[in-house]
């Protein structure tokens, strides 16, 4: 399986920018009413803004020039109320647009998270957790400004621009055209810069993700780092990630900062052209001094929204790669999902049938892990899977809960094809315990009740007692309310395994799969645990993967897995009599004693 590491960049599909933007803004459109209201309030703000120079002009030219004090006072009062109105409007639209954008971000974030939950193991196995995290938190946050600015800045600036352009055209179409002459240059320049900048921002985002992954991995594995005194190496690697992050940023801004340089150049050229065309070609007389005067003001008003729009465009280019990365995950199809027309699996008895099952990981289809495996397990049977590491024991167990889909053949539980029932109804009836015990941050109680949140206190304690965990839980500081943290303070790996056992116990599964579940538990505790399991799982189907043959011996049947298939199957006595692979394995553990 090709796996992405912290030091490699991820591949990003090429999607047109337009598509990404349209998709992003569709989220905004869910808030049409709010957006219309924001637009309305913005219009008021904009009107006040545009009216302000007129007001000043009126005041200076008329009231002050004529010495009309009451008029001046009236105007001041009017202005005061206008500004007050704008303040109220401003408060309104700022809150509203923040609400819309934050809601959109919340929606995208939860959609992304929900989608990630549906993805198959393959997705998680092929990339570091830190990279997925970077998308859920960092990438989404960086969309915030872009979304809110697109309403609060884009709209007013665009309207201002159009308004000013109209006024300029009316006042003198020749001068207006001269001023517009530079716009194609601006647009062309921006386009060229944008193409390059976009690529560079994409790279920067990848480096950002690498850095995130590195930090995550380093602190998750801090024990190994310190135990191997590998700090200097890790620091060197970190340094490389952080440097790449910095350099990719500098590379990107080297291009992106050209935006404002371009705007300034075009501004100078525009002024040059305006006066050159106006005076030399059209002739100053035809246009008039007043118009020239007015035009210098208008030109200023014309360029300020253009600057804003250019910087907004820059922002889009900067952040669109974050949006791309978010959508990239949303577009990753869930390999394992409820098929159309899947039914709820009713309460099962626990018969399991493998029918000519072959399996290969999706990205290595030619390399079969299992080939043409068939077997039948009656409800209540205990099956032990043995064989060399990597032979496919865990794969068989994973296929039963449909963590992966079979490549060929089918798996039936009580006659139901596992692909034709809903995942939830299937997995809720399975109890899977793996070797890597994962406990969540929270109390011991919350962890035991993970699969059954509404469990009663007695049930929980019964489950804990059954696996012999109650005693040590009561020895912890707060008993069942003791907090467990990521690097669980005070609990040994074996104790964590016992808690996981209690958790599985309580969820009351019909089929139990124990994949090396007792590997870190000492022999005496294991015996007690086994007694507990046996009592609770009487008449329930179970699959046990273990290396300690003492655990295996009691199984109803033993499957010896090797070479992609079941090599031998039968009870302990049968297999021992056969003197095959199992016999050799079994005998080998006593070799040294003899």
């Amino acid at each position: 399986m090709p796996v992405n590491s912290a030091r490699e960049d991820e591949l990003i599909r090429d999607v047109s920018k337009k598509e990404t933007l349209v998709r992003l803004y569709k989220y905004m459109l869910a808030y049409k009413k709010e957006l219309v209201l924001v637009g309305f309030l913005l219009l008021i703000t904009l009107s006040v803004n545009l009216a302000t120079p007129l007001m000043i002009e009126l005041a200076v030219d008329t009231f002050v020039a004529e010495g009309d004090v009451p008029g001046l006072m009236r105007l001041a009062a009017f202005g005061f109320f206008m500004f007050l109105l704008r303040m109220v409007c401003g408060r309104g639209w700022m809150r509203m647009i923040a609400d819309v954008t934050n809601r959109v971000l919340m929606t995208i974030r939860s959609q992304l998270y929900e989608h990630i939950q549906t993805l198959s193991f393959h997705f998680f196995d092929s990339r570091p957790t830190g990279k997925i995290l970077a998308r859920i938190v960092g990438d989404i946050n960086s969309l915030k400004d872009m979304l809110s600015d697109s309403v609060t800045k884009l709209l007013p600036d665009f309207l201002t621009l159009i308004g000013i352009a109209c006024i300029m055209l009316v006042k003198s179409w020749q001068l207006a055209l001269a001023a517009f002459l530079t716009l194609p240059l601006l647009a062309g320049g921006m386009f060229v810069i944008q193409i390059r900048a976009h690529k560079l921002w994409q790279i920067h985002r990848q480096k950002n993700s690498n850095l995130n992954a590195f930090i995550h991995e380093n602190f998750s594995g801090i024990r190994i780092v310190q135990s191997f005194a590998a700090e200097p190496e890790r620091e060197a690697d970190f340094d490389r990630c952080a440097l790449e992050y910095r350099d990719s940023f500098v590379d990107a801004v080297k291009v992106a900062d050209l935006f404002s340089a371009l705007v300034e150049t075009v501004w100078g050229l525009g002024g040059f052209l305006l006066y050159f065309i106006g005076i030399r070609i059209v002739g100053a007389d035809k246009i008039g001094v007043g118009t020239f005067l007015a035009f210098s003001t208008y030109l200023g008003m014309f360029w300020s929204p253009i600057r804003n729009l250019a910087s907004f465009y820059n922002k889009i280019v900067t952040n669109i790669s974050a949006a791309e990365r978010v959508f990239d995950i949303l577009d990753t199809p869930a390999e394992i999902r409820d098929e159309a027309g899947s039914v709820k699996l009713p309460e099962i008895k626990g018969g399991v049938a493998f029918k000519n099952v072959s399996f290969a990981y999706t990205d290595e289809p030619e390399k079969l892990v299992l080939e043409d495996v068939s077997f039948l397990v009656r409800p209540g049977e205990t099956i032990a899977l043995v064989g060399p590491t990597g032979a496919g024991k865990t794969t068989i167990a994973s296929l039963i809960s449909r963590f992966y889909d079979v490549t060929a053949g089918s798996i039936e539980i009580d006659g139901y094809n596992t692909r034709e029932v809903t995942l939830e109804s299937l997995r809720k009836q399975m109890g899977v315990m793996t070797q890597d015990t994962f406990l969540f941050t929270g109390t011991i109680r919350e962890n035991i009740c993970y699969g059954k949140e509404d469990a009663k206190e007695e049930e929980m304690i019964a489950a804990a007692k059954a696996v012999n965990a109650h005693e040590f839980i009561m020895k912890t500081k707060k008993g069942y309310d003791t907090q467990i943290s990521e690097r669980s303070s005070g609990l040994s790996i074996g104790q964590r395994q016992l808690l996981a056992f209690a958790r599985t116990m309580l969820s009351n599964p019909r089929i139990l799969i124990l994949d090396e579940a007792t590997s870190s538990i000492d022999t005496h505790t294991e015996l007690l645990v086994q007694a507990g399991i046996e009592a609770m799982l009487k008449n329930r189907t179970s699959f046990i993967i273990a290396h300690r043959l003492s655990t295996i011996r009691g199984a109803d049947r033993i499957f010896y897995i090797d070479d992609k298939n079941i090599l031998e199957a039968g009870s302990h006595e049968e297999l021992m009599a056969k003197k095959g692979a199992y016999y050799r394995l079994y005998e080998s553990q006593f070799e040294e004693i003899k």
Binding site: S5, L72, M87, N102, H216, V253, G268, G271, S296, E592
Partner: protein, 577 residues
Amino acid sequence: MQKLGTYMKRYGPFYLLGFVCMVVSIILDMAAPQLIRHIIDDVIVGRNQELFMRFILGLLGIGMGRAVLQYIKELTYDAVGVSVGYHMRKDLFCHIQKMSMDFFDRHNTGELMTRVKEDVDKVWMAAGFVGILAVEAVTHTVLVLFFMFRLNPKLTIVPFMILPLIGVCAVRMEGKLGTVYDKISEETAELNTVAQEALSGVRTVKAFAQEKHEIRKFGRHNRKFYDLNMEQAGIVADYQPAITFLGHTMLLMVLTTGGFMVIRGSMTLGALGAFLEYANNVIWPMEIVGWLSNDIASAFASWKKIKKAAGETPQIMEQEGAVTPERITGSLRFEHVGFSLNGQEILKDINLELQPGQTLGIMGMTGSGKTTIVNLIQRFYDVTEGRILLDGKDIRSYPLDALRASISVVMQDVFLFSDSVSENVKTGKREELTQGTVEWALERAGAAHFVSRLGNGYETVVGERGVGLSGGQKQRISIARAIAKQAPVLVLDDAASALDMETEQLIQKNLKQVDKVTKIIIGHRISAVRFADEIIVLENNEIAERGTHEELMAAKGRYYRTWCVQYADRKEEELCR
């Protein structure tokens, strides 16, 4: 971790360069209207055609000049900002990495990620881009005020009255935002932690079909994140329009007061026009005051968090003047070692003695303190009683890296980095280890065969925590990693739990050949420890039984009972001989 100023000082000349570019650029900006006035006054009205080309070329020159200056300014500040961030991040990372285990027990990975990633990002933004905007706004305002004062000192009282009010607003807003950003930063860490946990524990989540539960849990934090962001937006919405209002009120006051002065004849109409122009010019810096205080508040909140993390000192410290001995032979001695954590006694009165090359086997109940012994030898925690001697010297007198380099541990909980197999094996000795040693170690750990069958052999990248490999395969790589280190002390903490019998025996055989190395083997299977020179059985935090295999068998105690269970299948006479 240094002070923020120290990080910035390093780039002093660049800050200066950016500042100069900015000032010149502002001056050019202010010169443009003068040129236009000349074009109108001299060229159009005055009909002076000679100067015309010079004026409009000047206009073009201003544009070009500003283009270059702006570019230099922006690039300088962006590059300086990100570089300050780089140094800060590096220092923070190195600092955290040196912290001792108790720190990592208290802080989740999600939280640490937020500190090193998001928080540092916010601070460097403020150190570069945001910082320059603030400086530009202030410079601009000061320049304009200067021109205003020159024009009409009396009328300048108006902006001097309003500006402090705006300042008060900005400071208050900054204060309130600081509190919110404090919480936002906390919540980002929470969000990171919740998401990280669900992703790391995805197998558990799916096995229990608890996706909905996880989504709800994430939803709650997502919602809280939203609420906090709205709280922040609310504060901005409260103050920002008020600041703009004050700015425009100033304009009105200038207009009316100036108007009276003109009417009374103490000021010319032209001067009022110019004054108003200037007043208009200080409005934009005021409008971005809100925005700036927002970002600065956010950066400051993050900086506080960074400083807090950077201010913690590791519990495990090297003694001053600790020297690395030339050679460590690997004799170990525990003298009345006791250890308690959070008031709970985990080990008491442990006495052990191991000569170089000897093997110690440790067995015991789950939670009896076996792994703690390993943690103590490596000084992940310090003993609370007694002492541990390595080569006759207290381990606390060694430099930490020398101590840890002389002990290689296979941990119970296998962790591999998402890197190639050979890089994983080389962990801690990347420079020293040759490919030959890597292959030798993998061979010893019974991993060479399956590794060579992986897609790219030794260079195959294994996923984070070794996903994609079976439990036994991961464990073999982690054993190879410890063997490759060739340290005088080798600790195997339940290192064979996921191995099948044959592999375990192969590895045991291989390990036996490695003499001169002091070995500590923790295991649950008799087969793992039976050839040890001494075997101890831990119970209730102390050594309950000790001796060789034969002695313990003869004692018919706990060890003997374990043996009986594990080999119960054998005939009675063979079994309990």
